[in-house]
């Protein structure tokens, strides 16, 4: 199986002498006695759109949460843009990362959550401009201007002064995306961002992701159950099963041509 992973990796278009922006190296993750990830090796390249699929509990969320520093790997390394995320060098030795180190390395990463996690005590505009001002020390006027542009881009230019509880789920999720995007991340993580939405609101959110994906320069990791969407947007689909990558490759290969039995079963459930 390791062989097949390597093969599909090297056949990937993004892999021609370009340095990956994210590398997972033999990453293990256990919760208590349960080992969720069993030695994950995964490279993500600049601008690449990766869809993570797999059965519930297979560790998709855990993979991106470790990259966002919300969960710490049990062992193994995650390298972001050449820098070790969870460890830093001190007197020639690798030691656990300090808060300062984590902040330095995760600055290029943004994330959108299943349940939006907007700040309820701030207006939509404040939700977006707080981090650029506080974290990137951008001046207020320019952060405000960019936030407004971003909110207009996701179709919420008329809601600037509203509070999150005045918005629909789809609108909230679009705000959450704008909030992440104004930070100009090089990598964006999406954790089932449509699965908490009423079905009729899913489209507007996917629309925004599709637009962002088209712009191209940002790497995106999408945990999703929307197979058609993965097929359309992703450069690479990764099927996760039992703590390892069980299948990966171009969306059409993985979703339509694979012989992997577990994958077939998994996909069958979505098509029926």
């Amino acid at each position: 199986m390791v062989e097949s992973v390597k093969e599909s990796n090297s056949s990937n278009i993004s892999n021609k002498n370009i340095k990956p922006i994210v590398e997972y190296k033999k990453v293990h993750k256990s919760f208590g006695d349960v080992e969720v990830l069993k030695g994950l090796d995964l490279n993500i390249f600049p601008g690449e759109k990766v869809a993570l699929i797999g059965p519930s509990g297979s560790g998709k969320t855990t993979i991106i949460r470790m990259l966002m520093t919300l969960e710490q790997p049990t062992s193994g390394e995650i390298i972001v843009d050449g820098k070790n995320l969870w460890h830093m060098e001190k007197n020639g030795k690798l030691v656990p990362a300090s808060e300062k180190h984590l902040r330095e390395v995760r600055g290029d990463i943004g994330m959108v959550f299943q349940h939006f996690n907007l700040f309820p005590h701030m207006t939509i505009l404040q939700n977006c401009m707080t981090a650029p001002v506080q974290v990137q020390k951008e001046d207020k006027e320019s952060a405000k201007k960019r936030s407004i542009e971003m909110l207009e881009k996701v179709g919420l230019g008329d809601k600037l002064d509203n509070y999150p509880n005045q918005l629909s789920g789809g609108q909230k999720q679009r705000v959450a995306m704008a909030r992440a995007l104004v930070m100009r991340p090089k990598i964006m993580l999406f954790d089932e961002v449509t699965s908490a939405l009423d079905p009729e609101l899913v489209g507007e959110v996917l629309e925004v992701i599709r637009d962002i994906a088209k712009e191209g320069e940002m790497a995106m990791v999408l945990v999703t159950h929307e197979m058609d969407f993965a097929l359309e947007v992703a450069d690479r689909v990764i099927f996760l099963d039992d703590g390892v990558i069980a299948e990966e490759g171009k969306p059409s290969e993985v979703l339509e041509e694979s012989n992997n039995e577990r994958l077939q079963q998994f996909l069958y459930r979505f098509r029926s």
Partner: protein, 222 residues
């Protein structure tokens, strides 16, 4: 007629203590809040020692009687250590504030912990620092949750101020007691009026508490 006469006699006597009662109340409230915030934040600190030390303070002051704490501060400590508080106001305010600060720190702590975890995660994803997370995201939401309980405690602090008469501070209860001891038949009028006094002072606080509840309800829903 007799009752009204009695009231006319009692009222000005009690009024002599109103300054002290209000002064003790205002200082005690301010310091209770200060202690509550400091202790509450310490109790959610990452530092084990800070957390442990603070919870000892909280448990001791919640677990023992306020009157005894007051007597300790005013009578016992100065005698034991030969330094201390020979100022009644300071002793009274300190005892009440340490005691209520301990109770209210639990509200501060509970409210901070009650803020949805997703809020912290979103602020980490936006790369806010630990202190920014607390200051900008968590605390403002926690604060709204604290308001109703904080209002209730204000009313309790007001009622607790009457204890300072026990260390000889001349608040309204003190003056009432003096009057009763010189004129036993005045007792019913004195204590009826005292109740009315405390209730009237509590009215604005009750109103504040309602306001706090409204703000609290308005603010948190996402």
């Amino acid at each position: 007629m007799i009752i009204i006469n009695a009231m006319i006699e009692v009222f000005p006597v009690l009024m002599k203590g109103i300054n002290i009662t209000i002064t003790v109340f205002i200082f005690s409230s301010i310091f209770s809040y200060i202690f509550a915030f400091i202790a509450g934040l310490c109790r959610v600190s990452n530092n084990r020692l800070v957390r442990g030390g603070t919870s000892i303070y909280v448990e001791i002051f919640r677990g023992t009687s306020l009157i005894v704490q007051l007597f300790w501060l005013y009578y016992a400590i100065p005698m034991l250590f030969d330094v201390g508080i020979d100022n009644r106001l300071a002793a009274g305010v300190l005892a009440i504030s340490l005691n209520y600060g301990a109770y209210m720190s639990e509200i501060v702590r509970g409210s901070i912990l009650a803020v949805d975890k997703g809020q912290t995660e979103a602020s980490i994803a936006l790369n806010l620092s630990r202190s920014q997370r607390m200051r900008i995201v968590i605390f403002p939401q926690a604060f709204r949750m604290m308001l109703p309980e904080f209002g209730n405690y204000l009313i309790q602090i007001l009622k607790a101020t009457s204890l300072v008469s026990l260390i000889g501070m001349t608040d309204i209860l003190y003056h009432g007691n003096i009057l009763r001891s010189t004129n036993l038949s005045a007792a019913p009028t004195v204590y009826l009026l005292l109740l009315v006094f405390y209730f009237i002072m509590a009215l604005p606080l009750i109103f504040l508490t309602r306001k706090g509840e409204q703000i609290s309800k308005r603010g948190v829903a996402s």
